[in-house]
């Protein structure tokens, strides 16, 4: 459906890597295309940040390069903290290329839509993993149910493309706020059930800081425009 030229170009580039064998294009995300394949007999996914024609070249190059480097760094740290993430196999920052081990399994998005998993247990475990990330000062930046892969009941967190390092309560709060917002937009009927279990797991990993962050989530929500609860404060 999209960017056929870019596919071929990027696959050609990937093939030029010694030992890379492309199997199929998994998907065309918003910022990268994902190609499944083998690199030195490892089952991998190559994440190629396609140049965006709508952005000025200078800005585009800078964004693609810095995001690729940062993503590799965050994945390394997350793995060392004991979070289930894909492992980094190869990085070419100038090209915007990141090769990671392939995580089999299904997206949490589909599992929630089909009610096929024990939602509470799964959400708790996701909350715990996110708590571990935050303990390390890793903010994911794009927590959605599309970015959580479930393999044999265990969640893997993928796509750290918008992640960054921060110890601020505010940033951790925004991370959780975005997850909640993603639930609201994609799974409106399950928000309370999933988020409360998520919060349980998060508390388990973070201890007393968790309450501060969860309070922040409410505060951030109230800052948004046209929030219903905020009306109570209006007297005119």
């Amino acid at each position: 459906m999209a960017e056929v030229g870019s596919y071929n170009e990027s696959i050609a580039y990937l093939k030029s890597l010694v030992g890379f064998e492309a199997l199929r294009v998994i998907g065309v995300g918003a910022e990268a295309i994902l190609v499944e394949g083998y690199l030195c007999r490892l089952h991998v996914v190559a994440k190629y940040r396609v140049p965006k024609v709508y952005r000025a070249e200078q800005l585009d190059n800078l964004l693609r390069k810095t995001r690729t480097v940062l993503e590799a760094k965050l994945l390394g740290r997350a793995a060392m903290a004991g979070v289930n993430v894909p492992h980094v196999v190869y990085v070419d920052a100038e090209e915007g290329l990141l090769v990671l081990t392939y995580v089999e399994g299904e997206r949490m998005k589909e599992l929630l839509q089909d009610y096929r998993e024990d939602l509470r247990r799964l959400a708790r475990e996701v909350g715990y993993m996110v708590g571990l990330l935050h303990n390390e000062g890793i903010i994911h930046g794009d927590l959605t149910t599309s970015n959580i892969i479930v393999l044999r009941g265990r969640p893997y967190i993928i796509d750290f493309g918008l992640g960054f390092l921060s110890r601020r309560i505010e940033d951790a709060g925004v991370d959780l706020h975005l997850f909640k917002r993603a639930l609201e937009s994609t799974h409106p009927s399950l928000v309370e059930e999933v988020f409360s279990s998520f919060a349980e797991g998060y508390r388990l990993a973070r201890g007393s800081v968790a309450e501060e962050v969860l309070r922040k989530v409410e505060e951030i929500r109230m800052r948004g425009r046209y929030v219903a609860q905020r009306r109570r404060k209006l007297f005119w």
Binding site: S6, A56, L178, A228
Partner: protein, 329 residues
């Protein structure tokens, strides 16, 4: 076929439109309040609205060629917007409804921007980029409502551009003035590119751009170019994320900033690369207007939405995703 008269008065525009549920727009008359200096003062805007209201209503009825009696319902934008301004439209709508014994239909201003864009472009189920002086929202229809996929965490895109233009002496409206300067810019100066998940943040960008200007080391043309590049690219990136996330294949641009050819061009390029269709709302329906309220009111009225006069309070913080969109399946 229901015919509805719609009243818009959420911010700087007082407008009256007449439209049918099928999308025929019989009238669209608008009067925009322009502050002498600075931004909108709600009380002054409201005063403007009360002054022009009778004339705008009269012209709209003349243009429509129909009599007040043959109109089926009165629609009014009850929010979101500035309280004093909203009250002018609401008061007129209640008066007309009770005088003529017609039903009153509440319309959400943001929903109206979306519906008029769908009508104007013919796109059926698009990801909507709604950008105006007071709003920056990426939304699309899921599960009976327009769900908010991304929005600004602080100030709106139009607000960013208007404030920047005013502070550096380019005047109002900000978007065309800044874009005109940007067209002559050549060098990209790094500015905060702040995409947080599906949301954007513009306040840091405004502060940084103004600081650059005050430092005086860069040409205003280059600062404008960098500001526009950064601000628009952030928005297009979020729109692309919404497309990827929902699997939809249409994008529509609506709201006052939809008149920006640069933003439309960027969105068009993004859509083309993804194999999606893109269109902008017609320029005359981009800014706040009465026709969009009339048309959305007609859709809502046909779906059975009315409100008793005694319950028709204005709703300054009425969120887009609170509205049940009964006229869409």
């Amino acid at each position: 076929m229901p015919l509805v008269l719609g009243i818009e008065s959420t911010a700087h525009t007082f407008g009256v439109g007449v439209a049918s549920e099928k999308g025929e727009i019989l009238a669209n008359v608008n009067s925009v309040y322009r502050p002498v200096a600075g931004g909108i003062k709600p009380s002054e805007a409201a005063e403007h609205h009360s002054k022009v209201a009778p004339e705008v209503l009269k012209k709209a009825l003349e243009a429509s060629g129909v009599s007040m009696e043959s109109i089926d319902a009165i629609a009014v934008a009850l929010g979101p917007g500035l309280g004093p301004c909203l009250r002018v439209g609401a008061t007129l709508a209640r008066y007309l409804a009770s005088l003529l014994g017609k039903p009153l239909v509440p319309v959400n201003h943001a929903v109206a921007h979306i519906e008029i864009a769908r009508l104007s472009t013919g796109l059926r189920d698009p990801v909507v980029v709604y950008v105006a002086g007071g709003n920056t929202i990426i939304t699309t229809f899921v599960d009976g409502r327009y769900r908010i996929f991304g929005e600004t965490l602080d100030i709106a895109l139009g607000n960013l551009m208007d404030t920047f233009a005013r502070e550096v002496g380019l005047g109002f409206p900000g978007v065309p003035r800044v874009e005109e300067m940007a067209a002559r810019g050549r060098n990209l100066v790094p500015l905060p590119y702040s995409v947080k998940g599906q949301d954007v943040s513009y306040s840091g960008l405004l502060t940084a751009a103004l600081r650059l200007y005050k430092e005086g080391r860069h040409d205003l043309e280059d600062i404008c170019y960098s500001l526009v590049e950064t601000a628009y690219s952030m928005l297009v990136e979020v729109a692309e994320r919404a497309l990827a996330h929902t699997g939809k294949n249409e994008v529509v641009l609506t709201g006052g900033v939809a008149r920006s050819p640069l933003l439309a061009n960027k969105l068009a390029k993004m859509a083309e690369a993804r194999g999606a269709r893109f269109a902008s709302v017609a320029p005359e329906l981009a800014g706040d207007n009465g026709a969009m309220i009339a048309y959305t009111g007609a859709l809502a009225y046909t779906a059975g939405v009315t409100i008793p006069i005694e319950e028709s309070h204005v709703r300054p913080l009425w969120r887009l995703d609170e509205v049940e969109v009964l006229w869409r399946k």
